[in-house]
Point group: C2
Chain length 431, copies 2
Amino acid sequence: MDPTTRRHDATEAERLAAGGPPDTDAANATALRRISEVQPFLVDVRPAQEVADLAPDELLHAGPALTGWSEACGPLRGSVIGALLHLKLARSIAEASAMAEAGAVRLAPANDRGGLATYAGVIGGQTPVLVVKDRISGRLTFAALNEGRGRALRYGAYDKETLAKLGWIEGEFAEVLRRALQLSGGIDVLQLLAQALHMGDDGHSRQKAASALFANTLGPFLLETGCKEAARALRFLTQNEIFFLPITMAAAKNAMMAGEGIAGSTLVTSFAANGARFGIKVSACPGAWFTAPVPTIDGRYFEGHGPEEASPVIGDSEIAECFGLGAFAMAAAPALAPYVGGTPEQAVRLSTGMYAITLAEHPRFKVPSLSYRGTAFGVDARRVVAERIEPVFNTGIAHREPGVGQIGAGLGRVPLACFESALRALQGAQR
Amino acid sequence: MDPTTRRHDATEAERLAAGGPPDTDAANATALRRISEVQPFLVDVRPAQEVADLAPDELLHAGPALTGWSEACGPLRGSVIGALLHLKLARSIAEASAMAEAGAVRLAPANDRGGLATYAGVIGGQTPVLVVKDRISGRLTFAALNEGRGRALRYGAYDKETLAKLGWIEGEFAEVLRRALQLSGGIDVLQLLAQALHMGDDGHSRQKAASALFANTLGPFLLETGCKEAARALRFLTQNEIFFLPITMAAAKNAMMAGEGIAGSTLVTSFAANGARFGIKVSACPGAWFTAPVPTIDGRYFEGHGPEEASPVIGDSEIAECFGLGAFAMAAAPALAPYVGGTPEQAVRLSTGMYAITLAEHPRFKVPSLSYRGTAFGVDARRVVAERIEPVFNTGIAHREPGVGQIGAGLGRVPLACFESALRALQGAQR
């Protein structure tokens, strides 16, 4: 997994990398500045349809668009089936499957609506979502509430216990959380993440410190709601070590959106997978996805599971890496290494290897053990192609069959072909 | 501050180190095993006089016994004056000073009563203390509640605001905390510390993760007390990054006490300073202190302060280093380094340098970035003398005048003379 071990054929790469227009550096600087100026605060919990343009029969999923239900991977199928049962649109697994098969549900990328889906999780119009607002521009982004580790809809599980828990999370819990957030006046997401990186988090797969700090910050407000459900809500919050992940994602999405649409900019604004293809977005072409078949994940599997059971990778949470977190900040998270099947030394090599393909060091996310160096920040598609270093990311691994759930976690690389395809499109547009 | 840079004259050292009786290794193994078997849980908050043998005119302080008031350093004087005002035994600073001068207060080492004083803090009979209980033996140990950073009685401040805050902490807050602890059934201190070491804490000067985890663990129980003061209590708890320090200290004391009184054992069971002398205790001589003049602290001073204003070091919190935490675990806490005036690289060197003078690696406290190696644990007085490596510790620094407070933090070394003196006494006893 070392950056230096992934070399590709250079002939076309060199041609593509050399051909950037003269104003690309300035465009990238503008994009980076705009991203860095965003002040994302978690402000609310609301049904997705109040924040995004979302039809009643639509479900938002991770990654670029799918060609149809036939392309949906197992965990996504599980998640859609679970969502139909949860929303009481189907009475049985068989009925839910048949509905999905018959096209009663339209799938669309969350990423294109200002939202993000965690792993195979789906978001319907009624799904309560965490709403992040940029204090400067007012832009809203969103992601679904995290269910905790273990069996979860976002990993394709849809058993009764999973759905009962989800019912409580999206019902009673979401309402208490909403009231507490209103009392708090909003939570500064980056301030909290910056601290978490000094406390062993990477800001993607390890969210233990951020989740603890978030529960600390929100706890007194939960209490002040006076709701009788506050103790139960606080207990869930304090015991969910990954709760802060979708909050991080929505904040990262909000920031990266500020960098979209700068003519000539080769800055990458999204990493995401749909279980079939990995897609990236590039600033200069905000509407387009540049895709390649999903890469294989080098993973560590839970007891009793192995790579032959693994689903192809899916999820929008790799926005974290886009924003200088996750595998780009893994040097700050030595205790994460065993979870993704690596070592702390490898984590440092991987994170520092990313400086070769990024434009800057993150102004807020500093790694104490690297003399407080900012994390590698702002992936430049040109540099990826020129250096032939594929960006690294970490991720959970789900079982390939619907209804099972998470079976491990690991590391992957964003395919070089995505970046080559993006550069080709940019050069075409500029001709 | 590197271990290798502190070398002393070897002649007497070699003589002392060579003379250990043949059963010392077995005695040390017994002491270490007993220490490792302790299961310290935070169980209660009670007035100190209910836990310890403490006369009405006594105040417990850090370190070995003082010869009298004339030997008390500035911060300790400030703390005694503040305590007399706080307990309404004096109406003015002048009256409190005169009382102390006249011997109306008797000072005694907390360490000799099963308690510990943080920095220059003092504990009277009515002071509510955090009570830690060993689940196996039932042994109780205690330490005073932490007031938070900034101005605090434990650093010798006694202004109105400091005393008003202390009044609330030892009144309303202590009562809500007590009720919540009872509902919780007790908090497993080591389980929490082990996690905190994976989250950038050293278990002594940096307690940010442990305090956050503690607030999260206790938060739901605070709520369930139904007290109207619960929100205020939770807010104080979640905003006090050093709250867990006295809990750590009482747990470490509880564990180290289990290792006391093993004939022939050269294991060190306490490190503590009284502002004049640094003292250590050794297993084979549980009643005795082996002392030397306090060492100088290499510190980093807050804006506007410098070493010429520093008080000589005082405090019982170096029990943390005795127990494999603090500077012995600083490799786990890169973000602590700037606070104590060092670098993360130096922190790793200092922590790993301690393996040369310890008997074991801590079975619970693991450092992820050192491939999950246990921290250096169980200081052997023989090895300190033989290797001439003085144990390192970290500490806050107070202003030398009473009434000011903390002005910095830094690193110090436990004087070699303490260990030489202990070995001499052991050999004398065995002749």
